[in-house]
């Protein structure tokens, strides 16, 4: 029995690199200096989908992302690892989307794919840690959800295509739960239980040029601006707001109830700090002081 799975992925700035070189003088980040990476937990969600495919031949793994044209890179990486179909949802009208507007666009794209049994995504993206898009998308699709999944159930039929149930282990505070739900369902994955497979050399050879051609081609921009005109057999399918039949009022800034009122830079003014000599005596003096005033005992 085969299944139809959609994996939602996001390209994110590598927050690990928000140090030193990436900082501007005013204390904000020079985003251009940050490498863009595949959101780590999304890579685990992709791996989970590919595992289901390994166990249920004929399963189709569709990967979609919403973002600027450069986000095609994460789709390319998904193809290298075994995705069957990838689509980039991109339109100027999506700009400024908060999590609600994002989940609406993703829902429209998932409905366009149609006949979806499972939706997988990372629990959260490292540039926001909000963990909201998964549950918001599930609600819009009218699907049940299992969040913070670290593994499938241990039994061989944890993903039972015939009975249309899925058993998963989810991390909760101080422990875990094992739950079973009916399909269709949306699952969000942590980075605990699946080890993402490396790109397959054969698939890199197969898709490297094709995709590069699509992204470097001069016609690409036109294609991006008018994605609905693109042929469906393009390796990376481009969908704009019209091709996923999204209501512009529910997209981007217009569809986002949350607005940024203001951004404040935090200026730290050094308070009375006592610098301690980095010598055995200096440290011993500090330790004795802390003991004397009962801070440590």
């Amino acid at each position: 029995m085969s299944l139809n799975i959609v994996v939602l992925v996001k390209q994110v700035p590598d927050t690990k690199n928000v140090t030193g070189k990436a900082m501007k003088d005013d204390g904000t980040v020079n985003r251009a200096a940050l490498p863009a990476i595949f959101n780590p937990e999304d890579l685990h969600a992709l791996e989970a989908a590919l595992t289901v495919k390994d166990r249920n031949p004929g399963t189709r793994v569709n990967v979609i992302t919403m973002g600027p044209p450069s986000a095609a890179q994460v789709l390319k990486e998904s193809l290298y690892r075994g995705a069957d179909f990838v689509a980039l949802i991109s339109d100027r009208k999506f700009a400024g989307a908060d999590t609600l507007a994002t989940s609406y666009a993703l829902k429209c794209a998932i409905e366009k794919i149609g006949g979806v049994d499972l939706v997988f995504c990372g629990r959260q993206a490292i540039d926001g840690d909000t963990a909201q898009v998964g549950p918001q998308t599930a609600e819009k699709l009218g699907m049940n959800q299992v969040t913070c999944v670290s593994a499938f159930g241990a039994e061989t039929n944890a993903v039972d295509a015939k009975k249309r149930t899925i058993t998963a282990r989810r991390s909760i505070e101080g422990g875990y739960e094992v739950v079973r739900t009916k399909m269709p369902a949306l699952l969000t994955f942590t980075d605990e239980g699946f080890s993402p497979r490396p790109p397959s050399a054969r698939r890199v050879m197969a898709y490297k040029n094709a995709v590069a051609a699509a992204t470097n081609d001069a016609s690409y921009d036109e294609c991006y601006m008018n994605a609905s005109a693109c042929k469906d057999d393009e390796i990376i399918v481009l969908w704009d707001i019209a091709s996923i039949k999204a209501d512009p009022e529910s997209c981007g800034l217009a569809g986002s109830p949350t607005k940024v009122k203001k951004i404040d830079s935090v200026v730290l003014t050094a308070q009375d700090i006592r610098m301690i000599d980095n010598t055995e005596e200096g440290i011993a003096r500090l330790v004795h002081e802390l003991i004397a005033d009962h801070t440590i005992g």
Partner: protein, 337 residues
Amino acid sequence: MDSKNNVMVFIQQDDGAIADVSVELLCKARELADRLGVGVEGALAGSGMEARAKELLAWGVDRINLVSHDALAHYAPLPYTKVMTDLIREREPQIVLYGATTTGRDLGPRIASALKVGLTADCTDLQIGDHELQGKLYKDILYQIRPAFGGNIIATIVSPEKKPQMATVREGVMKLTPKKPGHKGVVVETKAQIGPELLQTELLECVKEARTVNLKGAQIIVSGGIGAGSKENFDLIAKLAHALGAELGASRAAVDAGWVDKAHQVGQTGTTVRPKLYIACGISGSIQHRAGMAESSRIIAINTDPHAPIFQIAHYGIVGDLKEVIPAFIKAYKNKA
């Protein structure tokens, strides 16, 4: 308390026990409601929760909406979303707050999606103020304040056009205020209607160990960052914590490196702490980290970089390599007598 427009808190219960963060949020809700001149409501779903619901009133709560059903005894997304959205539609609160726990982060976004309203995650502060949008003045709306990605910046988020305004807050961020024993409030119980189509999650197993990491209650915390450089060096930080009888904390970078469990993370998306002493070793002091520890009574920073922001909020600074400073610290402590 029949009036609408109140400040509502989703009260989380786990096996019948009320989550600490829910009580913290009731205290914050009281402050916001007083500022707005409205009441505080709790929304509690469960089974056999009547006694617990009554106890909550002492926190200055005007009304607990208790929704009872056997299927609500343990959290599941579909039934909880249904009863909470029904309740919000009926009670029309202007603000709803959720603890940013696994449950709150599972439920809050679903409700926001169903009601098409905003939700701001992991707020570190909540205030009331005005906002002007396209020439229109919105009075007394909720400022949802959180560090933003992109450096030393704090964003104030508003959702003026949609009610309720919703936010999640981590445990420990809001402080408990004293109980108000004489406060008069009511518990209003309703029996939920839950159709079979909502019963899709089957709980097969639930394993919970008693909390082994207790950052919030710790008097002393020794915290390590990516500056440790390796798991072995990070273990040195753990050794100092052990020697001092302290709890072990960490930056998100150290957690991401896999040196220490996520339960140890201090900061905006970890735990907020206010110990007597916080020792930050190899931590730069990013805004997200500071959000969770800046209110510690005393802070010692150990860092090789004299310009690291952590020194700006520390009371004692040691510029040096933690691989040398920590052993010296342990040695001095062991020789204390």
